[in-house]
Amino acid sequence: MDQPAALSRDLIGRESEVILFEVERGAIRKFAEAIQDQTPECLRGDVAPPTFPTTFRMTIPGLTFDLARVLHGAQEYRYERPLRAGDRVHCKVRVADIYHRKGRLGEMTFLILAIEGTDDLGKPVFTGMTTAILR
């Protein structure tokens, strides 16, 4: 078997630790430059582009797969407000669902990850939902 075992549904509900991310002006600018975002507030590094939460990378214990075989199927973000330079965001990611489907590329595994970010006072800042397809 050169294919790794399919992800077990036992992983549903498993969470990362809460990780603190500090939103740095330089990181915002670098991100805005990479996407060639012309929004003045983003180019100055004051306000983060809407998809900036993708930079908050976390691992979930026991959840491993071959990155090269992952397709990003869908992504959602909901915002209470934009992220700004100097923000401290406490983030956690959780396995919301895992299911298996037969598609045109053969057996595929759908992995749904839910992320949430709160401020120092515990107030929600954003949430995200990732659909990853493992083939």
Binding site: A27, K30, F31, E33, A34, I35, Q36, D37, Q38, T39, P40, E41, C42, V47, P49, P50, T51, T54, T55, R57, L67, A68, R69, V70, L71, H72, G73, A74, Q75, E76, Y77, R78, Y79, R81, P82, M129
Partner: protein
């Protein structure tokens, strides 16, 4: 750019077509920069050899890059403070050399005490008019 495009568009109603935002062609250098800036180091986006081992012709763009374009589109339309939600599906692969244009349409406009809330249909299409990344969004205009 002088303020958000929609700030002065009080005529917007359901079905209104939004102005386009055309992006520069995607380059391999941009994918390397995006990998570094985003922390997505999946080599299928930056290394042709790795891309070929999983059956691709060569590197493909990060789906999140096209979503980022739509994020910029919303900032341009409504201003970064106004964005409440952006939700997308990645339908087609995007390759270096592709030119994406962000387009959109108003699905619904509701007016309340805090201003107007717009439900938008947004998508990024390539130079062959294929909708590569498709989604919807919600913005709050004060």
């Amino acid at each position: 750019m002088i303020g958000p495009v929609l700030a002065t568009r009080h005529d917007l109603a359901s079905g209104s077509v939004l102005p386009d935002l055309r992006k520069s062609p995607i380059t391999k250098l941009q994918l390397v920069k995006y990998a570094g800036a985003s922390g997505d180091f999946n080599l299928i986006h930056t290394d042709d050899e790795t891309a070929r081992t999983v059956g691709l012709d060569g590197v493909i763009a990060h789906g999140m890059l096209s979503m980022a374009f739509l994020g910029e589109y919303l900032c341009w339309l409504a201003g970064p403070e106004s964005i409440r939600r952006l939700s997308v599906r990645f339908n087609e692969m995007v390759r270096p050399g592709d030119t994406l244009t962000c387009r959109g349409r108003v699905k619904e406009r509701t007016t309340g005490t805090a201003g107007s809330r717009l439900q938008l249909e947004v998508w990024a299409e390539n130079q062959r008019a294929e909708r590569v990344t498709v989604g919807d969004a919600e913005v709050q205009m004060t």
